[in-house]
Symmetry: C2
Subunit: 96 residues, 2 copies
């Protein structure tokens, strides 16, 4: 069974473009370096202003751990903190 | 720009297995018949009991419309109604 993650991130007003640039780098790094990642897609909410949702699917728990422990997650992720308007909401799921 | 959908469905307690069986048919039908669909994955929440989340990505608005108008969405979807504990929550997104 694969592992799904839905991360919801609220961004400071006016910081949307900066956030998208950082997350484009993150999507590229995940897709290039994580063979156990099957989906890593950032989306923007149509309804809630400055709100983004990341859809993620990993082959298994180990692949999710490898993501969180990766250099790119730490280095690129460090650039996200100052752009956020609060703590991300992370939802963990099991694929059916 | 592609279109993302996150649908959250609460299922009546005890109906989880029935729901998963119906949704396995739906996943199969979507993947077999919708060239404009790029992702259609049902997941079960780890935290909320009897709660499922569908991650969906379509090439564009037309592909999303084709999904909602499809025979399989109508016929298989009709089997879901009696299993749900409330109205689904549907979140529309634009991919970044």
């Amino acid at each position: 069974m694969a592992v799904g993650v839905i991360a919801t991130l609220k961004v400071q007003e006016g910081k949307e473009k900066d956030f998208e640039a950082v997350f484009r780098d993150m999507m590229k790094a995940v897709r290039a370096n994580e063979p156990g990642n099957k989906l890593y897609q950032v989306c923007k909410s149509r309804k809630e202003p400055a709100t983004y949702v990341v859809m993620e699917i990993y082959d298994n728990e180990d692949a999710l751990k490898a993501h969180s422990a990766s250099d790119h997650f730490k280095t690129i992720g460090a650039g996200l903190g100052p752009l956020l308007a609060g703590r991300p909401d992370i939802q963990y799921l099991d694929t059916v």
